[in-house]
């Protein structure tokens, strides 16, 4: 433990770690020291001069953000001289800041407003002309209004240090100094909008939200992003059941200040005009709307008939639906339809991973482990494209703890910029590359290994054996694609005990019923059984839905409650933010079909199903209080043997600007100039 010292702040005696920053020590002890440029976790700038404090025996005021505390220090943060300094600085700031708060998106959430309210002068003495420049659009999602900018450089650091993109810089000099984008008049970047979130004023605004609402008109619903598997919390700003923006205002999720383009903007598929809003039945003239009662009746009859005659079902679940929905669907299939033919599109070889780790406790890493590990090894994945939050965590680990980063990939990745060792290998030769690092890795204190679908089956078993041979604590992250891919596996949407895998269902010529929930297996494959009755639940008329006899309009993740499990096995709660007329949640649809069939599978309320999951699914006995308060509860699978599964394991290789089947329905993802993005092209962030 670091040396403890004693100091006095505003007459209060405080114990602190020697060398800690004064501003942090004060804040931890409930003493507010205002600052614009200081932002925890990013480099120090000492530029805004708001955190000036008085330190006895020091002639000049000192900035709290760069002053380390020392024993015996006597600090005043509320003396008249400090108050005058703050007031003076704010007065300076307002000289060129336009007072357009009534039309500024940031109004009501603006740190400058708050500071002036608390520490500023009641009247303005400035009677000169303000410096003015026109607002600029840097990308479909980023607008910059230079006069509002107070030059705190938070955006520059968030982009450079946080994202590793370095797309923002500082142009001009003096009072004309302003933030500039990397391509002269526009941005080419991740379009993550971190710069907008971190901006204390309304200088950077969101293309999708600007001039749409006042912050206080909205309800702020913290839920989990439905795109990739990282499980970031996104706070949806909702007015009249319409989502107007996504951001990270309270930084309460596992992702702290991180969000990518999808988490922040790609909620727009919810409102897409092609959303299904009524059940549909296939007719000679194509699909036509039909009532819920009729559709349920037709499906229930067909399912019951098939069950009675011992017919062959195929049930394919989703990577995006909740744990409760997946659990209930698996239960419905096994107990209601009496079938073992259950699967989902598997994107990572979790069965082999869990089996290979049999006998080890605590061998699966959390997102927090990625931030704290002494070393991280990334194999066969472009995290910045596919798992941007994991990539962010690794960068933060390097920035704050100088972790050793190793990359073994087929092309350049962003983690190379921080890498202790970067290895380029041919596809399929990843393991050999990893094995060549043995001596270096043995010298590490501990290690987290992150690997993509290149590592599966026997190769995966060899990787775990390799990890065992290092003689250091090793944890694993087996990458999967989507927001609840991990949960789909954990909830049993897999062809256990001789069931057919998804590809086997499609190629079986004698399939009687194909029941697809939130997946599009016929997008790139044909259904061999010509007489199969096809039922689909989805948001849109997918390729599979187009072949379905009955299609049910489903609610998206942003329109339901429940839980999802991210790539690291962290269980988090979805919170219903919006409502699209005519849709029902997948849980309710399955429940209604079951009810119509006269089955008793229990109550299909998310909380009730979760209770059952907690009691029956190994590792899911997670504390409800953690979930209820928006936290993440780590789950681990049964520490024992897992049988091998038939079928294909393959990542869809989505990029930062694609999201599987949702891609065509997000206007934002198609508008950003970088779309669709390419794997192994993001090693461009230079230091």
């Amino acid at each position: 433990m670091a040396e403890q010292i004693k100091l006095t702040i505003d007459g209060k005696e405080i114990q602190a770690e020697k060398g800690a920053l004064l501003i942090e020590v004060a804040r931890q002890n409930g003493i507010e020291v205002p600052a614009f440029c200081y932002h925890e976790g990013y480099s120090l700038k000492a530029a805004c001069r708001m955190c000036l404090v008085e330190i006895e025996k020091t002639p000049k005021l000192q900035v709290g953000c760069t002053t380390p505390v020392a024993d015996g220090m006597v600090v005043h943060t509320d003396s008249d001289v400090v108050k005058r300094a703050r007031k003076g600085t704010l007065e300076f700031l307002l000289t060129n800041h336009p007072l357009d708060c009534p039309v500024c998106d940031k109004g009501g959430e603006c740190e400058l407003q708050d500071m002036v309210f608390r520490y500023g002068a009641g009247e303005s003495r400035f009677v000169e002309r303000k410096v003015h420049t026109e607002e600029k659009q840097w990308s479909p999602v980023v607008f910059f209004d230079a006069p509002r900018c107070i030059l705190c450089y938070r955006c520059v650091r968030a982009c450079d240090e946080g994202m590793g993109v370095n797309a923002l810089g500082i142009g001009n000099r003096g009072v004309l100094a302003e933030i500039v984008p990397n391509h002269h008049d526009h941005l080419e970047c991740d379009e993550c909008g971190a710069c907008i979130d971190i901006c204390p004023v309304g200088a950077l605004t969101s293309g999708s939200y600007r001039y749409k609402a006042r912050p206080w008109e909205m309800e702020h619903v913290g839920t989990i992003c439905t795109h990739c598997a990282d499980g970031c919390k996104t706070t949806l700003g909702v007015r009249n059941e319409k989502i107007l923006r996504g951001n990270n205002r309270d930084r309460s999720g596992i992702n702290n200040e991180f969000l990518c383009v999808k988490g922040r903007y790609a909620f727009d598929f919810v409102e897409h005009e092609e959303r299904l809003q009524s059940p549909m039945i296939k007719t000679a003239n194509g699909h036509e709307p039909i009532s819920w009662a009729k559709a349920l009746d037709i499906v229930a009859r067909k399912f019951s008939e098939t069950t009675l005659k011992g017919g062959k079902f195929g049930v394919i679940g989703s990577n995006h639906t909740t744990n409760e929905e997946n659990y209930f669907l698996a239960k419905f299939a096994r107990q209601g339809l009496n079938t073992k033919n259950i699967d989902h599109r598997r994107t990572g070889d979790l069965a082999t991973l869990f089996d290979a780790l049999s006998g080890k406790n605590d061998a699966l890493a959390t997102t927090t482990d990625l931030y704290n590990a002494k070393a991280v090894l990334v194999i066969g994945a472009d995290l910045a494209q596919q798992h941007p939050f994991l990539s962010f965590q690794i960068r933060a680990n390097y920035r704050h703890h100088q972790a050793h980063i190793y990359t073994v990939t087929t092309g350049p990745v962003r983690e190379d910029n921080q890498a202790f060792s970067s290895l380029r290998v041919q596809e399929g030769c990843e393991l050999a590359g990893v094995q060549s690092l043995a001596e270096k890795l043995k010298a590490e204190g501990d290690l987290v290994i992150v690997f993509g679908d290149a590592i599966q089956g026997d190769t995966l078993r060899k990787l775990v054996a390799f990890g065992d041979s290092l003689g250091i604590p090793v944890k694993y992250v087996g990458l999967v694609d989507d927001s609840n891919s991990r949960g789909a596996f954990d909830m049993g949407l897999v062809p256990r005990d001789g069931g057919l895998s998804a590809d086997q269902m499609l190629s079986a010529t004698d399939l009687d019923v194909l029941y697809v929930v939130g997946e599009d297996p016929l997008k790139n494959a044909a259904l061999a059984s010509k007489n199969a009755f096809v039922v689909v639940q989805d948001l849109f008329m997918t390729e599979t839905a187009k072949q379905a006899d009955i299609v049910f309009p489903a609610a998206s993740a942003y329109e339901k409650n429940g839980t999802v499990t991210n790539v690291c096995g962290e269980v988090q709660k979805l919170k219903n933010a919006a409502k699209v007329m005519g849709t029902k949640t997948d849980l309710e649809i399955v429940g209604l079909i079951a009810k119509e069939m006269g089955l008793n599978l229990g109550i299909w309320l998310p909380d009730k199903v979760l209770e059952e999951i907690r009691n029956t699914v190994h590792g899911y006995n997670v504390p409800l209080a953690v979930l209820a308060t928006g936290g993440a509860a780590h789950t681990a699978p049964l520490n024992g043997r897992v049988a091998a599964l038939p079928g294909i394991v393959k990542s869809a290789n989505d990029t930062l600007f694609t999201s599987g089947g949702l891609t065509p329905y997000s206007k934002i993802l198609n508008e950003v100039m970088e779309a669709p993005g390419q794997l192994y092209s993001s090693g461009k962030g230079q230091q």
Partner: protein
Amino acid sequence: MAKVLFNQPSPLETKVISQRFVLEGSETLDVYLANDGFKAFLKAKEMTPEAIIEEVKTSGLRGRGGAGFPTGMKWSFVPRNHPKPRVIVVNADESEPGCCKDRLLIEYDPHQLIEGILIASLAVDAHVGYIYVRGEYRYLITKMEQAIDEAYKRGYLGDNVAGTGWKFDLTVHTGAGAYECGEETALLDSLEGKRGVPRMKPPFPAVAGAWGMPTLLNNVETYSSVPAIIRDGGATYAAHGTPKNGGTRLLCLSGHVNKPGVYEIPLGYPMMKAINDLGGGMRGGKKLKAVVPGGSSCPVLTAPECDIPMDYDSLAKAGSMLGAGGMVVLDEDTDMVGFALRVMRFYQHESCGWCIPCREGTTWLRKILQRFYDGHGRKEDIPMIGELSKNMLGRTFCALGDAAAMPTISIIEKFRDEFERYLERTTVAV
């Protein structure tokens, strides 16, 4: 045939570092060698680094770039046993309004500067050096490069300096127009190819300077003073000045005097003597109104305050600074409002924009002073100019905010009546 200099030397000068200026071909190595050149380096080569630094301490030499930090002490801060190589950097970014002395040291005696750098390299065990020259001095960059080329060719730079086996490489690096790069850490960022924004301290350049390496950074005149100190002994050099203010320095005399020019004088030289004798008295027989003693950032002195010796301590006592030797003389007709405006325009133009008080403070003050100057001043502006300046003073990231505030505060306090008289005018006479 006498060489034509920018200004003729004065018999009142004490020539130590400018003694070769008058010589024909003074910029060549031959003339330098024929006139005591490299004696000091060879002497220093036989001394320990500690002894060199001790000699510089004895000389009383203080940084000639403006801050006046004791040079020997600065040299002693550079860790010679550091795992990273040491770097010598020369600040030739002479930009303080009123100062034009480093130009002459490079133009007339570049080898003296090279020798000073080499002696410093022995003291801190450095083998590489950079002379950062402001971009406007392009012709001097060319001259300096010629001198360096000559020194390399003749074995006074490179792998075997003066046959001693000492290795040293020297490079001239151009700036591109930014006063702020005269601040040592801004200069280092500029040398690294970045915007000239000052760095946070600590770490100080002595420990982590250019490219994170221990760096010795001094002004051109400071390095140029070193050969004489080592050659003749620190005590001899110190004896030119007054106690605690050793040696000579180049005074850049400008403004309303009959004979403006750059003159070498001992520290402690009386200010009035500089005006009346060196400078040949006030131009047109006018009365003295004020003096900017060491460059535009120094608080101005009124005529009655000018009866002082020019050394660091006396000027500090008078509430101003010796600065970088730029003494600007103002006669009775000088419009102090216009003068204050011009000073603030300069700092506003040169503010790097990094911190709020300097960026916004200089801009606001410039606007107020311009409005005032244009005849639209208000009574309440006068105290506000002082108050806003004080809101910058001591609160900015680097000293540029202070440099803008200090002269302004002194002018508004000492010449308040002129501001008040402005209120009675509606238009301004040019």
